[in-house]
Subunit: 356 residues, 2 copies
């Protein structure tokens, strides 16, 4: 019996993508060679890169005004690379402090220009997504973290502003439709909804590149990777391939809009059980609850270890909350089935019967 | 019948490593989960990281004076990251210009301090490895590229100097023993001798870190990754895993010294055939010939395409020379068997019989 994988990331991937990835490790594209040992400039891998780019364009309806880049270094590299490429010393960017990763993005950006933190939910342990703030018109961009993996909050309404948005979508990329025209830059570490660890997606408006005054090392310039179609140097071949397979699966299953409908249904099922079950609670502002990472706690913390092991015996794994907040977290990314969430809900109800 | 893979990189990996990698894509460590979808902080993956570090230490006899880091971004990222971390504006580093990658390293370094190019073989199309140069004592470090993948030259005698060495070993890492104590920093993109694309090995002397004056973004500091054991953010999980498997294979097959003996035997076999065969020639200074990348040409260039397709029919693939110099290149990294080189040699002799 297969496991229901609730890890926060690296996270569950579609079985179909894993099956194809396994085959490619031994024989890719009937070449008689592993995808791990072919030239990234072979026509077979160039076709993978082209298809991966085309899939991003199709899933989010992205036109040629934007470059699609497959980089390495994770979102943590984008924390400094975005302001380094977009913000001059004397310019100001707005940031929202909505969690651990947002606050790291703020820290790195401060080296490159004026950083105006428009709102923060830190004082309330990031249990809500700030909405009550003004966006000054002079901002070069407004940086958002659309989903906060650790705390379990998510932005559900994009800010009403003409200031271009820069957004870390690492943990909710391809989980719903987005108003692309509002964005100058979107970035996402792959290892949640998009693929395995080792590749970072960047969608960036071409017209804003190469406008800052500072020197930027060649490989840290977005324009370098745009000109070379993400092949300035050897790209992370296998992570890109598995991301391509995962995006094919998303497309085949109805695209981001169908993902959103499924994600809502899964999240509703789980939050309803948390709210109903006498042993569990969620302390996130209701309208900001994440559809991706459902954080919850036990009224009696002494039952936590028992519940985790009870769930593991029922094949529900990866439920331990992030070490910084404790409790429980069920990550229910695109690839998690409704059946998997139902299994967790049944497990919670059964645990309640035995322990209430 | 399996292929003999002479690609320059991403390149041939041990079949044993590929078989284990395939299994891990479906079920890693009997967890019932793919290695692509487990937390990098799970004890199963932490064990992989620990083992990968231990293997580097064992293969090169590296003590705790040095940190072992598994980063992303390839050697091209190290081109700027090394001087950014090691060289102050007013200090001078020496560089040898021995090929395309060395010259890119020089270009990136110039933004961070004084760069003294001690010698260059560019005027002779990089057909030899410079040896006739003096090393000023005041250099912060001397940067070398130990093997030039494109041109087919290799450094076989380390310079006799007390200036600490910094070396790009991307294409000959783990192919022979090295005098570790001479180095402040060694870096290598994995995708030749060490593993698949997507991870970069860094071996750096701990005592030299955090001594420069400039601001460095958190994730670009070597010390960040040393403190967090290469887990500051999500590392490239699968490329690290396959690198670990490849290093296990190296160790099981006698370590770097046995690799060196095999590599010498393979290279001798192939260079002897090139020198003997009336259709082919090699124009690299004999004592600088690479044991990893054997570049060669045909006296009659009109026969090149025919030979490549003749070889492909005999399962010898990836022989086309780099686009910048043309001709042929057989990359015979650690994982290439003597049998594979013999197959190529037989193919060359047969082609000579039919076409001389």
């Amino acid at each position: 019996m297969s496991k229901y994988n609730f890890y926060a990331g690296p996270a569950i991937l579609p079985q179909e993508a894993l099956d194809q990835a396994k085959q490619a490790v031994i024989d890719f594209d009937n070449m008689g060679l592993s995808i791990l040992e072919i030239s990234h400039r072979s026509k077979n891998f160039v076709a993978v890169m082209d298809r991966a780019e085309a899939l991003v364009r199709e899933l989010y309806n992205v036109n040629d005004e934007y470059a699609i880049l497959f980089l390495s270094g994770g979102a943590s590299t984008q924390f400094f690379m975005a302001p380094m490429n977009l913000l001059n010393e004397n310019e100001t960017a707005g940031y929202l402090d909505t969690g651990t990763w947002a606050s790291k993005a703020i820290k790195e950006a401060k080296a490159f220009g004026n950083i105006d933190v428009l709102a923060s939910s830190k004082e309330e342990n990031y249990c809500y997504y700030p909405k009550d703030y003004a966006v000054p018109n002079n901002l070069k961009y407004l940086h958002l973290t659309s989903n906060n993996t650790i705390y379990g909050t998510q932005l559900h309404v994009w800010p009403d502003t003409d200031v271009p948005l820069v957004c870390d979508m690492s943990s909710d990329i391809f989980s719903c439709e987005i108003p692309l025209e509002k964005f100058d830059l979107i970035y996402a570490g792959a290892q949640k909804n998009m693929g395995p660890a080792g590749v970072t997606l960047v969608i960036v408006k071409r017209g804003i590149l190469d406008k800052v005054d500072r020197y930027i090392p060649t490989i840290l310039r977005y324009s370098t990777h745009d000109e070379k179609k993400s092949m300035y140097n050897t790209p992370p071949v296998f992570p890109i391939y598995v991301s391509m397979l995962t995006m094919e699966w998303i497309l085949k299953n109805g695209g981001v809009n169908d993902m959103y409908e499924r994600n809502k249904a899964k999240a509703n099922l789980l939050y309803n059980e948390i709210d109903r079950n006498t042993l569990f609670y969620n302390n996130i502002n209701r309208e900001d609850r994440s559809l991706m990472n459902v954080t919850f706690h036990m009224h009696n913390e002494g039952q936590l270890a028992d519940f985790i092991s009870f769930a593991e015996k029922r094949n529900c794994v990866g439920l331990k909350g992030h070490r910084s907040i404790g409790g429980l977290r069920a990550s229910i990314y695109n690839a998690m089935s409704l059946e998997g969430v139902q299994a967790l809900v049944d497990t919670m109800a059964e645990f309640e019967k035995q322990n209430a």
